[in-house]
């Protein structure tokens, strides 16, 4: 049974991991099965890597927008970030700006945030404000189960 929702978002490290060449086939499957939202901090990490590779960054932005749903700055995003940040400031905590934008983007798009194993605990502080988060490793395990399920369906189909 499918445990994952239709909408997912990636934090910066998990996005770089899933776009590694060795994960191309998994990414293809993810693009077929999910609506993928990319918060701006993840877009930035990806583009920094492209700069390192001397890519044409303007072209890379176009490509990213063709392939994924980039969560752009909007009034709603600014409001969500302020609400979340304000709630933490009341408790004497100032959240990291990148974490705040990533969490707010996932909450706003109602997507499950895939976070690097090292950071998943940090994102959990946003859970009481509506963030659903899963570690990258756990997410890949769930995707592998889905791949097996699909393979069984294909084996049963007539053509």
């Amino acid at each position: 049974m499918r445990m994952l929702p239709e909408r997912i978002a990636f934090d910066p490290v998990s996005f770089l991991k899933i776009t590694r060449k060795q994960n191309k086939e998994i990414l293809e499957f993810i693009l077929a099965e999910f609506q993928v939202y990319i918060p701006l901090p993840s877009v930035n990490s990806y583009l920094m890597t492209k700069v390192l590779l001397k890519g044409d960054v303007e072209e890379e932005v176009k490509t990213l927008k063709e392939v994924f749903n980039v969560v752009e700055v909007s009034d709603q995003l600014m409001v969500k970030m302020a609400e979340l940040g304000g709630a933490f400031v009341k408790k004497g905590i100032v959240p990291n700006f990148s974490d705040l934008m990533t969490a707010a983007s996932a909450i706003l798009t109602e997507s499950l945030l895939v976070a690097s194993d090292k950071k998943v605990k940090r994102y959990e502080m946003f859970s009481k404000y509506g963030l659903d988060v899963i570690s990258y490793t756990k997410f890949l395990e769930e995707v592998e189960s889905l791949v097996e399920e699909e393979a069984r369906k294909v084996a049963r189909s007539p053509l």
Partner: protein, 70 residues
């Protein structure tokens, strides 16, 4: 189910007939469904290829990000 008719030129008609035989498909609907499925798969392959990053370069940035975060 209501059926619809589409028109194709002679060359395409011959090609699609051959494909139907090759796929052992029961109908042209099945052939077209298979073609659409393959097209989606090719499109996804192209998209994934476009956004793929060399492993070592991605690892370098991942390492920098993980070490720079508080």
């Amino acid at each position: 189910m209501a059926m619809k008719t589409i028109a194709v030129d002679e060359e395409t008609w011959e090609a699609i007939k051959q494909l139907k035989a090759k796929l052992d498909a029961r109908s042209y609907t099945e052939v077209l469904k298979k073609l659409i499925e393959v097209w989606h798969s090719v499109e996804l392959d192209m998209k994934a290829e476009k956004v793929s990053i060399e492993d070592d370069k991605a690892d370098m940035i991942i390492s920098l990000l993980e070490n720079s975060e508080d």
